[in-house]
């Protein structure tokens, strides 16, 4: 897969500024990402979780995915990847256990079919989602159940050739918002609106919509991605872990 045009090789010591959201992507099936190196930095509970996967491919993706998250957080907080510690909020959203001198890093991650995306901000609540575009989703039936009435009307106006992409633009945008909220499914997916027509600007309309900004991005060929973060005054920087590891 050729990289999308905006994903760059990261600097050795990336700095996360207040007005930035950093996205990193990693292809978790890449042989260039050392499995042994990342297995060594996992905590005991993460190794135990890795051991629960039935298939070696799934286990390896988890190890690489978690190891890369630790490595990136270690770069931002200037500590070894193995020294990064997580805490979990009541809904299960992981957060970084911060020391007094650490920057207030927030993060969120998503993966789909071997592609992981990590989102980082400085103090802003943040959520991201990535999905492989696939045609085995019964689009109209799912849309009727999960989309708002406005989204459903927009979806029905799409020509057949844009429906798969439109579906996943909507899905990733909604998931990113729910993950930023961190409240699980206590907010029904039909209770807020996102735009979904390919090529049109991404919008989010919700009861607290002024709190957030939604951006879509291209994680790679055949994938859709979205990120939602607090505030209006931030820009995106896209880093490619896989190119950094070569």
């Amino acid at each position: 897969m050729s990289p999308s045009e905006n994903w760059s090789e990261p600097p050795r010591a990336p700095e996360l500024e207040d007005g930035e959201v950093h996205l990193w992507r990693a292809f978790l099936d890449s042989e260039q990402i050392s499995l042994r190196e990342f297995e060594a930095v996992l905590a005991d509970d993460e190794r135990e979780r890795a051991s629960r996967f039935v298939f070696p491919r799934d286990r390896d993706r988890f190890i690489r995915g978690r190891g890369i998250l630790r490595a990136i957080l270690g770069q931002y907080t200037q500590r070894p990847a193995a020294a990064v510690q997580f805490v979990y909020d009541p809904q299960g959203k992981p957060r970084l256990r911060l020391g007094e001198s650490d920057p207030p890093i927030r993060f969120n991650l998503a993966h789909s079919q071997g592609l992981a995306v990590y989102a980082f901000s400085r103090g802003r609540e943040i959520g991201t989602d990535v999905e492989a575009l696939r045609s085995d989703v019964p689009g109209e039936g799912v849309a009727e159940q999960f989309f708002s009435s406005r989204e459903l009307a927009e979806f029905r106006c799409l020509p057949p050739e844009l429906r798969v992409e439109g579906f996943f633009l909507c899905w990733t945008r909604k998931e990113a918002y729910l993950k930023a909220l961190g409240t699980g499914l206590t907010v029904p997916t039909g209770a807020f609106d996102v735009s979904l027509t390919p090529g049109m600007p991404e919008t989010l309309q919700s009861a607290d919509g002024s709190r957030w900004t939604l951006r879509s991005f291209r994680p790679g060929d055949g994938y859709a991605g979205a990120v939602v973060a607090e505030g209006r005054d931030w820009g995106l920087r896209l880093w490619d872990w896989t190119s950094a590891s070569q």
Partner: protein, 90 residues
């Protein structure tokens, strides 16, 4: 339907969305997403398959109860019992 029959439907729905899964390998009390690399769309297809096969409406707020085989069987058995007509016995 008995709990055993519902368990078969749940495993069948799971292997329907991920055919590589060996039904015998599914561990009852462990979250499906900790055993198999399922994404949110896989999970959505799983929920829709359960709805189609069992005819049970599953509100979004209850999705967390479908995360493991044990929990899903308990939840779906409750829903199936609640939906069954109570008819009087002679």
């Amino acid at each position: 339907m008995t709990a055993n029959e519902i368990a078969h439907v749940v495993v069948d729905a799971l292997t329907g969305i991920a055919p590589e899964i060996d039904p015998a390998a599914v561990q009852s009390s462990i979250n499906f997403r900790e055993q198999f690399d399922l994404d949110s769309v896989d999970f959505l297809n799983f929920v829709l398959a359960l709805h189609e096969r069992l005819g049970i409406d599953i509100p979004e707020a209850d999705y967390a109860r479908l995360y493991s085989l044990e929990s899903a069987v308990r939840y779906l058995t409750e829903k199936a019992s609640a939906a069954k007509p109570s008819g009087s016995e002679i």
